[in-house]
Subunit: 375 residues, 2 copies
Amino acid sequence: MSNLYNIVKRCPETAARLGRLETVHGTVETPVFMPVGTQGTVKAITVEELAQMETAMILGNSYHLYLRPGVEPIARAGGLHRFINWRGGILTDSGGFQIFSLGGLRTIDDAGVTFVSHIDGSTHYLTPERVTRIQNMLGADIAMVLDQCPPYQSPYEAVREAVARTTRWAWRCRQAHQRPEQALFAIVQGGVFEDLRRASAAELTGMDFPGYAVGGLSVGEPKESMYRTLAATVPLLPEQKPRYLMGVGTPDALLEGVRLGIDMFDCVLPTRIARNGRVMTAKGYLTIRNAVYAADMKPLDEQCGCPVCRQYTRAYIRHLLNAGELLGLRLTSYHNLYYLAHLMKEIREAIRQDRFGQYYRETAPGLTKYNGGVD
Amino acid sequence: MSNLYNIVKRCPETAARLGRLETVHGTVETPVFMPVGTQGTVKAITVEELAQMETAMILGNSYHLYLRPGVEPIARAGGLHRFINWRGGILTDSGGFQIFSLGGLRTIDDAGVTFVSHIDGSTHYLTPERVTRIQNMLGADIAMVLDQCPPYQSPYEAVREAVARTTRWAWRCRQAHQRPEQALFAIVQGGVFEDLRRASAAELTGMDFPGYAVGGLSVGEPKESMYRTLAATVPLLPEQKPRYLMGVGTPDALLEGVRLGIDMFDCVLPTRIARNGRVMTAKGYLTIRNAVYAADMKPLDEQCGCPVCRQYTRAYIRHLLNAGELLGLRLTSYHNLYYLAHLMKEIREAIRQDRFGQYYRETAPGLTKYNGGVD
């Protein structure tokens, strides 16, 4: 197999790089933002619409798909791509994050995790081997190891144990992994403790995975803390391998992540806030349900070229959301995904043209408006 | 103004006819089914998608739009077409049906109706003049008079009074109507009483409206009763004017209505049942949530050429609906609307080619499977 990842261009001023991730479902140009298709669909959006906005790769949640519809029907359809009719790239997470945050956790030890389904209360037992087998069957282009992601503000000792377990589990996932065309990425844990990040990165890079994620961030810590940890962690990762910052999707954090050398991002943010009536614009978040937009004939974002902004007014979209119309959720979701896709495209162009440093200096101050994060 | 409606072809065997309804938003070829865009959107569907399936005209509900977002913001946007970004035809109903079925009705007399909003409990007073003014402001291609639609199984005397009031209100609506490019249709009432239908039709056709609707059917009566009333009513309407059967959208009733000489239909059925996981197929209704479809790799309807059926499996759509995913509602809604659009196109082609009688005989037996109506 040729290289999974190739660097095309490096920013002369920052750690940003332009790269190409080669999958059997096409080339993914990085830095890339991956919309999240939790249950086999990016919420409210079709695969044609994702292609329209030049989405190269989406994320699927193994935890959700394992519980519903189950892995069997997906495997029988020929894998997740065929099941959901998506021709681009797919990355599946391991389910670890959801097991530890959503499921009623019963027990965890080195062997594996017993948890209770958030859907029907049924009990499930997952091990690194089973999680890997599930992802093999889903057949995404990139799979993730089972990791243990401790909650924000966990004490040092708990994070240290999670790092050690994540390393042991990563090894077992790698041993169990079977599809050569599917790349298995490791996940660096360690919370905001730099020595634990160093330990985690050292242990995992020693196993020579084809790609590395930074997990355990964007879990509630202040952004400065995330950026500081990221700045300390990224240089510990192999230069020639893709780097993936999990769960990050605010415009300011995407820009900062790229600057620090991250290639891949995912987050439910653009679609989740869209369903709450919040959209991203050149001027920051806009809460479209506000009464002030009742007769506003402007598009959601006056600087946006997406089909929603070319065709619909704030007054109409506000009406749709207030009336509980599904079309409202479609339009805001589409716009937010387009906004991030467009931002990432601008970032890639800036790196390609050796002007990312300048782009960063011009753009970052305007993006501080996103500092509040999701409400 | 040139003729609103022109007959292109008459079926030599039945009362079916092929016609052209000329509006400033294009020509609507009849017989036509109009999807319902209750609150300014056909639920879950974009205007591009409606155009894709060759939708020529949609229906907007004055009652719903009057209550939310209100007539003002729509008028300020330049009318309903501009507000919702739809370039095809629009027909608005008068709101009468909703006032009498949805609103907490307070009082009704000849002057008008006082009712309570189903949204916020506020009290509203509407008269034929106000309803006409509202529709003038919404600016649809076709507006409807305010009528009184008595519930199914109303006693003769109540229906007789409703007919008389509907006639008086029709006259007042006509007097109040102001936009020459907007056609105002009258509505024949009379329940299942043929003498009252005759009275209603005689009174209304005497006023020479540009089009006539048959109201007060599809309100719970058995289909045979509806067909019998329709067969008795349609011949009472002017041959050269368009005839609109309100609230009908099951495939069998569409076919039967066309045979009896109806040109226009509307119904929430295709989108409403879609959201409940029920789709129309060449083999009848299919309840996609059923467990039997969990691993079914066939399309919703094996004989359908719509984009949903070309791209998605029953197993996937079932999963989406079971998981509460908005995409599921989009796909089933699209398919059902396409199914009816395709049926109406087939019907028009059959009339055009002088073979509607044969088409009817071949198709009607298969459509009896829809006899159960909506569940």
